[in-house]
């Protein structure tokens, strides 16, 4: 059982997301350490991409700010090295196929292993294309997280069968971003996954309030929150660490 999967044995997992390098890698490092202290069970680190087609405006603009600040994949690996001296919290990279492929898929995954990344999430690498990096993930023991969407229907079986770590359930149509309500039948999605394989399911896209998190945690094993945190980082800049810490604490408490 991977470090990622073990997290869910302790109970419902809270999984926050931050964009690396927004507003600086130093702040990202502090954020990760503080979010772990606040009770985050797994932390998703976004490697910024110039054209993030699965992201709404909030994360897309954070990517733009991070890239403008000179963030690169190599600098992010260095930041992770620093983080690992201070926390053992499981870490997942979230990025697009191109930053991985262009860096060199094997070199990228090998560095993930070397610097202590546990999993990667690639929203534009569907089941049909996962062999692009899966062999390297297997070689270096990195979980390649599978995503399922409200449109997946009969594909869920096939995806769940080969999933590892946890299954990322996309709660809504469209891109990432805060939503007032989530109308998808999440419990049905989770049920279809579990029928095929006993693997944790975490829900992401659109969740921002403790009440939403609590509601979602009834159906799934974990809750992922991105845009709400990234928006705080955007608002508070370098002063975001404390407010994010408080927010993560509140969200974690809501799902216990």
């Amino acid at each position: 059982m991977s470090r990622i999967e073990k997290v869910f044995e302790k109970g419902k997992a809270f999984i926050p997301f931050v964009t690396a390098g927004d507003p600086s890698l130093k702040v990202t490092e502090e954020l990760i350490i503080k979010m772990a202290k606040a009770g985050a069970d797994i932390i998703e680190i976004g490697i910024p991409f110039s054209d993030p087609v699965a992201e709404g405006d909030v994360i897309a603009q954070a990517d733009e700010r991070a890239l403008k600040a000179g963030t690169t994949t190599d600098k992010i690996f260095k930041m992770v090295e620093g983080v690992r001296e201070k926390t053992y919290v499981p870490l997942a990279f979230m990025t697009y196929a191109n930053p991985i492929y262009t860096y060199g898929s094997e070199k990228f995954i090998k560095n993930c292993f070397r610097y202590g990344i546990d999993a990667i999430i690639v929203p534009d690498l569907p089941f049909e294309e996962k062999d692009e990096i899966k062999p390297y993930c297997d070689k270096y023991d990195i979980d390649l997280i599978s995503l399922i969407a409200p449109t997946s229907r009969e594909r869920i079986k096939m995806i769940a069968k080969e999933a590892e770590g946890f299954v990322y359930c996309v709660s809504s149509m469209g891109v990432t971003g805060v939503r007032k309500e989530i109308t998808t039948d999440i419990s049905e999605m989770v049920k279809l996954v579990k029928e095929e394989k006993n693997i944790p399911c975490a829900i992401g896209f659109g969740i921002s309030t403790p009440a939403q998190a609590k509601e979602m945690a009834r159906y799934a094993d974990g809750v992922i929150v991105g845009s709400a945190i990234v928006r705080m980082v955007g608002e508070y800049g370098a002063g975001c660490v404390e407010p994010v810490y408080e927010y993560v604490k509140k969200m974690k408490e809501a799902i216990i």
Binding site: F49, S50, D51, V53, A54, D57, A60, E64, L67, T72, T73, D74, Y96, A97, N98, P99, I100, Y101, T102, Y103, P123, D124, L125, P126, F127, E128, E129, E132, L147, I148, A149, P150, T151, S152, R153, R155, I159, V170, M173, G174, V175
Partner: protein
């Protein structure tokens, strides 16, 4: 499971949310492409609505003036809506209609694909929304109004470089948000499988007609085919039926903007490397970390950092070759063809004309060269006037 591959290129690198949508398109296409009624209906639209076949015109004055190979122009500019884009749009929208879709969305660069999509949406009674970079809505303002006149809603895209690349991003996002009743009419031989294949098939009517027409007038195949390449649909449409005719040179012309040695160009094959973007593996202008580069061309239609995957493979195998043409050369060709033949070419197509002006004089007089005149230049007249410092009111 490798679907829709051209050598190493192609594939389906898209969010899971869209996977069933592209599978649905693929299944529908495979069903209808050989369906007798569908083909008959499409041929009828090509003939009676688009005005096909388009002429293969012998450019006598240009030939004599350049003093080399015989030059023919494939007059896609004479199609309804003024470019080759209508070939693909009629095909895909007939398919969308058969699939029961009621709403279409599309990206556009210069506006030609947007206009074609808005036109056919009006004809077929479908709801239509077009995404166009803010930069392009400014430089192609007339096409924006044209689309609105046809009943489409135009969304200016203000993210990123505010050009074609960003318009594709936004259209993909829109499709992810609303897929049930919506069909994405992709405008070029790019994106995730099955689009590069579908668009190529619908555009291949260009090459099929050229083959028939040139054999009728010259009794043999041409020696070279020249077309401009952004995503590459007019080039792919011209080349496709000639791929097995090894003696025919296939030449794609990329936009070199201010020059290949500057950071202001969109020459993907010359300056790019293999990457994964917009659903496909192919060549892209990008940095060492895979960040897509901000590209530039005077021509909004060629101002794109990637190239269709089948072109990527034609380049890898050496079957086609790709050259680059600067803004300056394209503008000179724009003016040259206007004055020499009385035909105003689109600034995109002018890139192909410009290379022909270099190549033809180096070829013997008994050689034959075909240029794909992919679109007419009316949309560019105001921009060229601005470039030359002429103040006019559109």
């Amino acid at each position: 499971m490798l679907k829709g591959r051209f050598g190493v290129h192609g594939g389906q690198y898209i969010p899971e949310t869209l996977m069933n949508a592209v599978i649905e398109v693929e299944e529908a296409y495979n069903h209808y492409k050989d369906d007798e009624d569908f083909c008959k209906e499409l041929q009828e639209l090509y003939r009676n609505y688009a005005g096909r076949p388009s002429l293969l015109y012998y450019a006598k004055k240009m030939t004599e003036n350049l003093g080399g190979a015989k030059i023919y122009l494939k007059r896609e500019d004479l199609n309804h809506t003024g470019s080759h884009k209508i070939n693909n749009v009629l095909g895909q929208m007939l398919l969308a209609k058969k699939m029961g879709k009621t709403r279409v969305i599309a990206e556009t660069g210069a506006g030609q694909h947007g206009v074609a999509t808005a036109t056919v949406a009006a004809l077929m009674g479908m709801e239509c929304e077009i995404f166009m970079g803010k930069e392009d809505t400014d430089r192609q303002a007339l096409n924006v109004f044209r689309m609105e006149l046809l009943g489409a809603k135009v969304h200016p895209v203000t993210s990123g470089t505010k050009t074609l690349k960003d318009a594709v991003n936004e259209t993909l996002k829109e499709w992810t948000a609303r897929v049930e009743d919506t069909y994405y009419v992709l405008g070029s031989v790019m994106g995730p499988h099955p689009f590069p294949t579908i668009v190529r098939d619908f555009q291949s009517i260009i090459g099929k007609e050229v083959k028939k027409q040139i054999v009728e007038s010259e009794g043999r195949l041409p020696d070279a085919l020249i077309a401009c390449v952004g995503g590459g649909s007019n080039a792919m449409g011209l080349f496709y039926d000639f791929i097995d005719d090894k003696d025919v040179d296939l030449i794609g012309c990329e936009a070199a903007g201010h020059g290949l040695d500057t950071d202001k160009n969109a020459a993907t094959i010359a300056n790019g490397s293999i990457g994964i973007f917009h659903g496909m593996k192919s060549y892209f202008c990008q940095d060492e970390y895979g960040q897509i580069a901000p590209v530039y061309s005077i021509s909004a239609g060629l101002d794109y950092p990637g190239i269709g995957p089948e072109h990527g493979n034609l380049h890898d195998t050496g079957r086609a070759r790709y050259v680059s043409i600067t803004d300056k050369e394209a503008v000179e060709a724009f003016e040259y063809l206007s004055r020499t033949e009385g035909i105003i070419p689109a600034i995109e197509s002018s890139h192909a004309v410009a290379y022909a002006m270099k190549l033809a004089p180096t070829m013997d007089k008994d050689k034959i060269l075909v240029i794909n005149l992919s679109g007419r230049g009316d949309k560019d007249v105001a921009a060229i006037a601005r470039l030359k410092g002429v103040r006019i009111h559109e």
